[in-house]
Symmetry: C2
Subunit: 272 residues, 2 copies
């Protein structure tokens, strides 16, 4: 019997050339497909909600696949845990509707982008934050980013190399938190922007962060945001590096509301 399954995974992106399978590269999708195929004894194709780039981390990536292997879901989860390397962890496996699609059915996503203003790399958090070349005022960065909430054609913030039906997206909220996602507690030098939206274009979060940080540093003029929104793209400017980005959560209709389930929420609670 074949069943469609929905799997939630987290991964440390440091050791991967991104999500998507590429020849001769270690990728998250590749590792998952290899482990699943080994257990099933036949090829398994994995469809991720988000195609994260090299270095990008995930606390709650979701994928679907069709499973006709010999094992039940709890047993499959245990086998995967044993086979996967320590930088990937399966957090949940559930049966899904036969037509469930991890990417097309996602109703909203949360990303966090972490910056730090340490003068030297921190052994515990350097892999999980963009160390800015010079300090900026995080409040000012967040204020600049706020201009992008709402529904816009984000083509001007989309890097070339993607093919999507429409470049209109809605950002529900962009929130500033003064703490790292992964790192020691002295967080005075760390801050992050959390993005909640119905979807994000190729490199859109990193292009937004790169742009607002460049404006806050006085390198790019303030009206660059409006210019980029008015442009048809592709994005031209400073893309923030992949290792500061976390895919926090992907939500689906009928699932728990992402505001109550994501790591972002847990982080907020912890800070209170």
């Amino acid at each position: 019997m074949t069943q469609r399954i929905k799997v939630t995974v987290r991964f440390d992106g440091t050791g991967f050339a991104g999500w998507q399978v590429q020849p001769n590269e270690r990728t998250v999708q590749g590792e998952l497909e290899h482990a699943l195929a080994t257990i099933a004894g036949q090829p398994v194709r994995v469809h991720g909600a988000s195609r994260t780039d090299a270095g990008v981390h995930a606390l709650g990536q979701v994928f679907h696949c069709d499973w006709s292997g010999p094992k039940g879901l709890p047993e499959l989860r245990r086998s995967l845990s044993q086979m996967l390397s320590p930088d990937i962890r399966v957090d949940a496996i559930e049966e899904a509707a036969p037509d469930f699609h991890a990417r097309y059915d996602a109703t909203d996503k949360r990303y966090a982008y972490v910056c730090c203003m340490d003068s030297e790399p921190d052994p515990f958090s350097a892999r999980y934050a963009w160390r800015l070349p010079s300090p900026v005022d995080p409040e000012r960065v967040a204020e600049l980013a706020q201009q992008l909430t709402g529904t816009h054609d984000f083509a001007g913030f989309c890097s070339s190399g993607s093919a999507v039906a429409t470049t209109e997206r809605t950002i529900y909220a962009i929130a500033l938190h003064r703490a790292p996602i992964v790192g020691p507690p002295e967080s005075a030098t760390h801050w992050r922007l959390e993005f909640h939206g119905d979807g994000f274009l190729y490199k859109m979060v990193r292009n937004i962060v790169g742009t607002v940080v460049q404006i806050a540093r006085g390198i790019t003029p303030d009206d660059r945001i409006g210019e980029l929104l008015a442009s048809k793209g592709p994005f031209e400017g400073h893309t923030a590096p992949g290792h500061g980005l976390f895919l926090v959560n992907v939500a689906y209709r009928g699932g728990p509301p992402s505001s109550a389930s994501g790591a972002a929420h847990a982080a907020q609670q912890q800070q209170q």
Copy 2:
């Protein structure tokens, strides 16, 4: 001119066979001495406040050495940053009194021991917490540990292999915090004990944590703590693994009070 200098460093202990120089092993002291000797053009001997074991991390280890190299202290710091690998970072270099000794002059130290109750290793925090084989009640563990605050002969919690003048030590406080030191924000499964004392014997914190966790799990009887205190040692029992332990802070007379300078304090503030 030779001057004695006091250096504060942090390191991720994952890739080290501990602090102390050992033949054919990568150690923190070894890396520091190699970098300093390369800059100075002559051997430099480093004296650490604490001889941390393999896997143990530090947010605030202190060492002293005598510096007669060609560079001033700000320049020395920059050169060290360039030479040291990303798992060690120099946080401060200051001139010290000619008779300052990082180990003998320390007035108090703070350690944190992090446990987690995840059913599977977390990619972001597994290197920084002891994943317990079965869940325990952290409140109960903390309550058990409280019996050890105050001044005691801790010989029964000291592993063999150390030579110290006296095995009497004072633990000022042991506090429970429900968060990891390094890890993602969903911390429900993470907790740590923070130890503040005038000094700690060889593996004493790990032996205390190992014992109270075994009691809380029902594997060791409650009166084991009293038995160990009454024994003359060396410790016999379960030593918690090194990778859950952080040396948080070493304080000195005349320096800033450790309660206001350590990472432990920053962590407390962050949680409020």
